[in-house]
Symmetry: C2
Subunit: 144 residues, 2 copies
């Protein structure tokens, strides 16, 4: 795990401490960390505030063009977040796991995004614990 | 144009008055307006704050499950917003136009979403005026 994924994990753990869904993300430009974010769906009462959207929201405070950048996430992006990757011209996505959810994978690959899944037990364990203890909060928004 | 699209247009015009990108959206459950929103990309310095995302963000304050609902937008949803439609199980999308942008159309149709484009001159005119006067602000985030 490199420093960027570590930054995403740090956000995921902050989310867990807040009682939120423990998923974190980081936006990287070359060798530079641009922004981080975490799922704030429960904290903000906002279903759209996934980790990747929150990360891009935070990134927007300092930079407006995410083209060619790399997005790290502790979970494979959903359809919405994968769509954001395409929309903003993000060219590479690194995920910590894709076993818990995998919706956005094909969408990104079909559009030429490089997707690397590190398949880390640490990610599956962190999110799995949340799903076991709060299953209704995890499953409240089934994708179509 | 029905009352729901009128609500979306009202948001688009509010955006124009604020100096923002004039695109509006409305979320509808059966015969009931759940929430409206507008593109706040420039107002909030937040590239992710498209009209549809803002509308779903606002909707989240009163309801958490958007499954089976209809999303109105004065412009065909982009990849990110189309992905949000899929992710949250929204089953129908009504747009005022799709000439200015059309990215999300195929993505939604492929997943079985009913998409109706009203092709209204009023929408093309409102957004066209923005693009003519502020081209660099419209084109700053080319989709991949």
């Amino acid at each position: 795990m490199d420093d960027f994924m570590r930054a995403a994990f740090k956000e995921a753990r902050l989310g867990a401490e807040e009682g939120g869904v423990p998923i974190g993300a980081a936006l990287v430009d070359g060798d530079s960390l641009v922004a981080t974010g975490r799922n704030r769906r429960l904290q903000d009462t906002a279903p759209v505030m996934h980790a990747e959207i929150n990360c891009l929201y935070n990134a927007g405070k300092t930079i407006q063009d995410f083209g060619g950048m790399t997005l790290y996430s502790t979970l494979m992006p959903c359809y919405m977040c994968a769509g954001a990757v395409l929309q903003f011209g993000i060219t590479k996505v690194v995920t910590a796991e894709s076993k818990t959810a995998n919706e956005g994978f094909e969408m990104m690959v079909r559009h030429g995004v490089e997707v690397i899944d590190l398949d880390l037990d640490e990610a599956k364990s962190l999110l799995g614990e949340f799903i076991r203890t709060k299953p209704h909060q995890w499953h409240s928004h089934p994708p179509k």
